[in-house]
């Protein structure tokens, strides 16, 4: 904390020194009519202003983020395991809820179960443990991230389509969030392939128990956020069909599947 405070102060000191020295050099250049001093002054002043303008944004160390997130993933995982919920998380679109801003994932008790109807979910949307059908209704880990995506893109995913995501998501991941080097979305029938290269947010779930029963822990906040975004965009329930990561975990291929209500 003290070190960080010192770093901020020293950065401020550098900017203000540059600006003050630059202004003084310009003043002296006018007094002594020296073009060299004027060049130095303008240069210092200019770079001082530029450094102040492009200075570091507020960042949090990734290890800190991982540390706070890991326990949440573990808790979700433990709840699902303890209560023996075996289903794959299904990311429900807004039509399943009375409040269209709600984002929830639905985990069934049994591995293969029919999708619930929007009316069934709406009747008990504020409950976590559903009785009919027996299932868990949780806010997915990436719910807030999906809202952040919408905020940055200044849109509501329910009013967009998959082409919009194909066009905007690469810019969002590469330029705005600066979290990946490449991002591709490729829809193919009911499967949507997402490819992320040089992904900088390696999921903390790598450190957790990844046994097949822990399906919820496998969904990192970002894969979960993309699933929620796809559910909102397509208006259909979405499941994460397959996830593949390279050895270092930086290249990801995720296959999402949209479900039809009759399924």
């Amino acid at each position: 904390m003290g070190k960080n405070h010192m770093r901020t102060n020293s950065a401020k000191l550098v900017y203000s020194t540059l600006i003050t020295t630059g202004a003084a050099a310009i003043a002296l250049s006018i007094i002594f009519t020296s073009s060299i001093l004027a060049f130095i002054g303008l240069g210092l002043l200019f770079w001082g202003i530029i450094f102040t303008y492009i200075r570091t944004e507020e960042y949090t160390k990734k290890s800190l983020l991982d540390a706070t997130l890991t326990s949440q993933i573990t808790t979700c995982n433990q709840i699902a395991q303890e209560l023996d919920y075996k289903g794959t998380p299904i990311y429900l679109p807004p039509k399943y809820f009375k409040d269209t801003k709600t984002l929830k994932a639905y985990i069934t008790k049994q591995k293969e179960t029919k999708l619930p109807t929007p009316e069934q979910i709406q009747a008990q949307e504020h409950q976590t443990f559903l009785k009919n059908p027996p299932a868990l209704l949780l806010t997915p880990l990436g719910a807030e991230l999906t809202k952040l995506f919408e905020k940055i893109l200044d849109t509501d995913f329910t009013r967009t389509n998959i082409n919009y995501l194909q066009q905007k998501m690469p810019k969002l991941f590469i330029q705005d969030l600066e979290i990946a080097q490449n991002f591709e979305i490729e829809p193919e029938n009911d499967i949507i392939h997402v490819k992320i290269q040089n992904f900088q947010y390696i999921t903390p779930s790598k450190e957790l128990d990844l046994s097949p029963s822990n399906s919820f822990a496998l969904d990192s906040p970002f894969t979960s956020a993309i699933a929620s975004a796809l559910a909102k965009t397509t208006g259909k329930p979405v499941v994460i069909e397959k996830q593949q990561a390279s050895q270092d975990g930086k290249d990801l291929t995720i296959d999402y599947r949209t479900l039809d209500e009759e399924a």
Binding site: I30, T33, S35, F39, Y53, Q175, Q181, N198, Q200
Partner: protein, 70 residues
């Protein structure tokens, strides 16, 4: 007492700054995998473009002056 630099000197200073900023902005671009340098790259890019436009404006003014001058 007067400011010792003329219009052309300022133009030169803008040109040098614009080149440095444009090259830095391009080298730090996230498209080349530089995602671990923590400065506001969007602002850097905007500054580089603005400085370039300012320089080009000075060039345009100079050209217009040359054309208008008898």
């Amino acid at each position: 007492m007067m400011f010792p630099l003329n219009f052309w000197d300022i133009s030169l200073l803008l040109a040098v700054t614009a080149i440095i900023l444009l090259i830095t902005s391009e080298l730090l671009s996230t498209h080349y995998g530089k995602v671990n340098i923590i400065i506001n790259k969007n602002r850097l890019k905007n500054t580089a473009i603005t400085t370039s436009i300012l320089f080009l404006t000075t060039v345009a003014i100079r050209i217009i002056n040359l054309l208008i001058a008898p």
